[in-house]
């Protein structure tokens, strides 16, 4: 009976906020709102049997041949090139509009042919893809500024389509060779 009479002391809830803050900070720190980024590509469908033989008629000067070998060296149009030159050279080729008889006739006819060896490192392949994408992005941006006075990324969808039609990204990757 004596025990019951003793009044229980009230628990101080003042430090509740501190505890909650501690937990809050823990979760704030551990939360990762990671966004996946990457280079998007669309693979071509598998070629059909009859289609294999007939070559599409493309003028050779409209094709920009980019080769990457097993030791990650670049051969562009028959010449050795370093990766940091690739973007500007690609831009020159695409935006040639018939000035140089050896380069493309117009950006929408130009095709980039990319071929890599089985031994090429993935890192090199991605940097080549990145440089080629950068060339297209810069050309599209320049065209957007010239035509609409806005950056390409700021354009509404329909205007973006117009620009994309001027500079369609045509990167063709060769069928893998059956060599060992």
């Amino acid at each position: 009976m004596a025990r019951n009479r003793r009044s229980t002391p009230e628990i101080n809830a003042g430090s509740m906020a501190d505890i909650a803050f501690l937990l809050l900070i823990f979760f704030l720190v551990t939360t990762t709102m990671d966004v996946d980024t990457g280079i998007s590509r669309k693979l071509p469908p598998m070629p059909e049997e009859e289609q294999m033989d007939e070559d599409p008629q493309i003028n050779a000067k409209n094709i920009y041949v980019v080769l990457v070998n097993a030791s990650d060296q670049l051969l562009v149009e028959g010449e050795l090139m370093r990766i940091n030159q690739l973007k500007n050279e690609t831009k020159l080729f695409l935006d040639n509009n018939g000035t140089n008889p050896m380069s493309s006739e117009s950006p929408d006819k130009a095709i980039i042919s990319l071929q890599n060896d089985r031994g090429t490192s993935y890192e090199m392949y991605i940097s080549v893809q990145n440089e080629l994408t950068a060339a297209y992005n810069e050309l599209r941006n320049d065209a957007a500024i010239k035509k609409y006075n806005l950056n390409y990324t700021e354009l509404p969808k329909d205007k973006r389509r117009v620009i994309r039609k001027m500079y369609p990204m045509k990167i063709s990757e060769a069928e893998p060779f059956k060599l060992n």
């Binding site: 809830a13 509740m16 906020a17 909650a20 803050f21 937990l23 809050l24 979760f27 704030l28 551990t30 939360t31 966004v35 996946d36 980024t37 990457g38 280079i39 998007s40 590509r41 669309k42 693979l43 071509p44 469908p45 598998m46 890599n116 060896d117 089985r118 031994g119 090429t120 490192s121 993935y122 890192e123 392949y125 991605i126 940097s127 893809q129 990145n130 994408t133 950068a134 992005n137 893998p176």
Partner: protein, 157 residues
């Protein structure tokens, strides 16, 4: 000066902080609920290459991931060797398993979402292109044409 004096005279009640824990708890629950723990155990080394011309991958529920890299950790290296391996979901896989994987991914989605499915290739920097080309061929065979080479964003110099 009279202004200040006036203020001093009117005794203001202190702001009650009793509801502070409630507010903090609310925030806490928000973060607890939104925190996502990593779903798949990584069985392969996965350091992504860097690129500057990246796009955000939207609608994560429509993305299936293929991881490529050499086995992670000494135990696995001694067991499986140091060659690059493919990881699908929570286990190692062979190139031939990819078609099956794509079909399984497709069947778990509703029909109108199927054309929007993207395959994200998460390959390690040290991976050779041979295995990546094989995977791309398999994806083409299974008509999964939309792919994304996953990269880290490169900081501008």
């Amino acid at each position: 000066m009279s202004k200040f004096r006036k203020n001093k005279k009117s005794s203001q009640a202190p702001i009650s902080t009793a509801s502070l824990p409630d507010i903090v708890f609310m925030l806490l629950f928000f973060f607890m609920v939104t925190t996502v723990m990593r779903e798949t155990d990584m069985l392969v080394d996965n350091i992504l290459p860097q690129a500057s011309e990246v796009k955000k991958l939207e609608r994560k529920s429509l993305v299936s991931y293929i991881y490529i890299g050499s086995p992670k950790g000494q135990n696995r290296i001694s067991k499986y060797g140091n060659d690059a391996k493919i990881q699908l979901n929570d286990s190692y896989a062979r190139v031939n398993d990819i078609q099956e994987f794509v079909i399984a991914e497709r069947e778990s989605r509703s029909e109108e979402e199927v054309p929007l499915l993207t395959t994200s290739i998460k390959a390690d920097v040290d991976v050779k292109m041979g295995i990546v080309s094989d995977i791309k061929q398999e994806l083409r065979k299974s008509q999964a044409y939309k792919i994304n080479y996953s990269t880290r964003k490169k900081e501008d110099k």
